[in-house]
Symmetry: C2
Subunit: 514 residues, 2 copies
């Protein structure tokens, strides 16, 4: 309410008393950028996460990931779930997917995305995702990571993909989880188009836009700009504001890249064609390098604004690279995460092992590598540790364990810890390790149990990263021990499982199967 | 993350299992719409709040306010502060302005909006407004009404003017106070233009827009639409979303209308010209009727969506009508709130008495009038009562008292309660009762104390609503008693006061002055 008459505005404003005060506050906690890439495989980078540089590392160009790794710590055994919503919900809640039951990807209210099976009936999982309030059907009510960060005084920024809750449920909107800024986050987990020329998939003829059209980027409609760049510009805008507020910030930079559709990021496409890649594969490589450019732009912004020293950057992907689609990818199927087997949607390493890097000046040693393993729900307590959040009362139990000790000492290992996955669903695409499964990793060993067939596979991940040699027949005792532990865990967290249509009976838990 | 190949999307989606579940929840608490108008005087309506219909009531047309009053309870002695930010901060915090110290309007960071005086030095009030985090200079850290509502499970929608915190401080952004939706709320308390044709004041030539350009309405830029209507359309959009979420909603419909600039709302302008009003006054009348149309549209939406019965509507204004500006208004200055004296910025009733109506089907008796008095900070506990919010822990003490008993019984009065105002600032415009003052109302009596001159005025409001007869000379005991109570209160809440430039000494409190 400015009281001045228009006429006298100039006079009045010059008469205003200027009181100059320091904008400094006592809150010196670090800023945090969680840079989350979508559908990025462990090998979709020039940065070698395997023991040696692979042909895929030679193919892709991610200079900013290399720069980030040279300033921080790489994690070679960082796990997520095999599809998006389960991973993202575990990140937001600290729960294992077996417990939160958002085991498959979400989109429409009260509609399961499970593909129908002739053999199996799938359980009533939380098809509407998570929620911040009680009483919403098919959701898990939670206190989210972002809400706790906001409550503790962080300025919370969401930019990009959310994918925690179905359309027209409270969980669809990042603002409902304590994010103070939201650009482009909604129920959708994919995108209709990367192209500003195509309004990122939004229709302007009055007809409804596809559910996966990217929201909030109207300012770029009709322009020659790629979604990755538009989101980066929006993130920088939010940071420009954030730096003045006197609060530490949490930026969840959650790219839609490198999810299909594999549109061509023209800034980088031609060089991959020139290098001999097919159109599809050059397009994919351009998606990767566009994403890497965004990382570099944010890193540059921190340097230019003198915020580099007090900002933690965490780089992560939500699941493995898409490798089961001849429509979108060239070259042999299930080879796109080599040396890992299979890709997105699979219980194999190609579906769940992620490229991860943490930079934290003065705290995390530069140019280091940590081979200890961790899983996506560990991000929840770790980020709260980084943010020094004391008030951590949550509606849900927390399964994750902070990996802060690894950040301090790359050789640190959580003693004897096991990791669990549960996917009592049917994704749709076909390929090795893709289907309704539950899985345990413990030390060198990994056991996968297929609900439909009762088949068990045992791999020594340390010796056989490609999961090519099923050692279950030779190691019945290990199979039995891991089956027991997995079954016990799943029952304990009230996990769900499919049932057989023919008999109506539930599929046996792994330790009840022969 | 939709996993389907484009090619097979149709097949896949037809195979999706449809699980139909009720979206009903157990949360039956009422929806709440707080319809807040800016700078609207007590007489800027065809609804008579005085004992009889006045010439101004004959002039203006507000059929929807009449409709609302016929379905609810009018309040004839509802008070706010004389300018915007103090009122809005009291609403958001439950504190009296003397305590929260956001005693004048806010805009730019670390800049006081006080006009310079040759005689007085003004105190360092909270020129940056309120804030949800500690440590931000010149702010009061609070737990806001909207945050408590969000925490309790309400879906919180902000549409229109905010005006709680300065630019580049956390308080500028409604999202920081727990609002999950925000359209057009920011640090600005005025507006550069109502006209879509002028992009609501936003520049498109790359040069910075005026600070008071309305944000977030890009979709209406260049179109023939008035801001009042654009905001209403956005509010309805938010309600359309809200009705599906399974939560009760709180809509803070906070119009920029009827603040200057007095642009012409073409939908209603001509009829007032035809009725013989001047251009300025016809423009003003059109602002009012455009605002009233918005109220009607929201009421219609509730009926059409079968939400009328469980929705509370509270109608209020933030301060009196602007009456001190010959540039914006025709007809004699300080007459525009008649029978009340003066207008916006004044300690007189014209500055602080507001048109207020509450509709609550089944709870508040229709077509009733309550003459008990209440003040803006009372909205805080009342709205929490309506929303049945149990968790009310706040960082700030609460001065407001719930007027729920009045809603249940229009004859209810808070026994012997006093009301206080403190304005140790200089607004700029001139007129009766405008200047650095503090004020007490107790029963029929109202005492105003002028910091600069030490002058005291005493009015019997019940007998002399127009504050034309200063009875201080005839009633020294009442003056003394009210001065003592006011001084005691101000000291108790650590209120601020100006000091004299000549001596550096603070102006006396009212009970220390002769």
């Amino acid at each position: 309410m400015y009281p001045f008459l228009r006429k006298t505005a100039l006079l009045a404003s010059s008469a205003i008393t200027a009181v100059t005060l320091s904008a400094q506050t006592n809150d010196t906690r670090p800023n945090i950028i969680l840079f989350m890439v979508d559908d990025m495989g462990w090998q979709d980078t020039s940065l070698p996460f395997a023991d040696e540089k692979t042909p895929l590392n030679e193919r892709y160009h991610t200079p900013n990931m290399e720069r980030l790794a040279s300033q921080g710590m790489m994690f070679t055994q960082a796990y997520a779930c095999a599809v998006s919503s389960p991973t993202r919900v575990s990140l937001m809640t600290g729960m294992n997917a077996a417990r939160h039951r958002v085991t498959n990807w979400t989109l429409e209210k009260n509609k399961s995305t499970d593909i129908k099976s002739d053999v199996l009936e799938f359980p009533e999982w939380n098809i509407n995702g998570i929620c911040q309030v009680p009483g919403i059907p098919s959701t898990y009510e939670v206190t989210s990571l972002s809400q706790l960060l906001k409550n503790s005084g962080y300025h919370t920024i969401h930019c990009g993909k959310a994918h925690w809750g179905a359309i027209d449920t409270p969980g669809e909107n990042p603002h409902h989880f304590g994010f103070e800024v939201n650009t482009a986050g909604h129920a959708g987990g994919g995108l209709a188009s990367y192209l500003g020329e195509l309004n990122f998939g939004n229709r302007t003829d009055g007809k409804p836009s596809p559910l996966q059209a990217i929201p909030n980027l109207e300012a770029y409609w009709g322009k020659d700009i790629f979604a990755t760049e538009a989101l980066t510009l929006e993130a920088v805008k939010a940071l420009e504001k954030a730096k003045n507020l006197g609060q530490p910030f949490y930026l969840y930079m959650s790219h839609y890249a490198i999810h299909i559709p594999i549109d061509k990021d023209k800034r980088f496409y031609q060089k991959y064609i020139d290098a001999g890649l097919s159109e599809k594969e050059a397009g994919y490589a351009s998606l990767i390098e566009g994403m890497d450019k965004s990382l570099g732009d944010l890193m540059d912004w921190l340097v230019e604004n003198d915020l580099e020293q007090n900002t933690v950057i965490i780089f992560m992907s939500d699941n493995g690279g898409l490798s089961s689609s001849a429509y979108w990818r060239d070259e042999p199927l299930h080879s796109h995460n080599a040396p890992l087997n299979s890709g997105k949607g699979s219980a194999y390493e190609g579906g769940i092992r992620e490229p991860m890097i943490v930079k934290w000046p003065g705290k995390v040693q530069a140019n280091t590598k940590c081979n200890s393993y961790l899983i996506i729900e560990d991000f929840f307590p770790t980020i709260l540790d980084i943010a020094q959040v004391k008030e951590r009362k949550t509606k849900q139990p927390i399964d994750g364990i902070s990996f802060m000790p690894m950040l301090k000492d790359s050789s640190y290992k959580h003693n004897n810890r096991s990791f669990y996955w549960n996917y009592p669903n049917l994704w749709g695409n076909e390929g090795p390790g893709i289907g309704p499964t539950c899985t345990i990793r413990k030390g060198d060993w990994k056991l996968i149990y297929y609900y439909e067939t009762g088949k068990k596979e045992l791999f020594n991940i340390t010796d056989d990263i490609g999961e090519t040699k099923d050692l279950s027949a030779q190691n019945p005792k290990i199979v039995k021990k891991l089956s027991r532990e997995l079954g016990k865990y799943l029952r304990n967290v009230k996990a769900q499982r499919p049932s057989f249509k023919a008999t109506g009976k539930a599929c046996p838990w792994p330790d009840d199967a022969p």
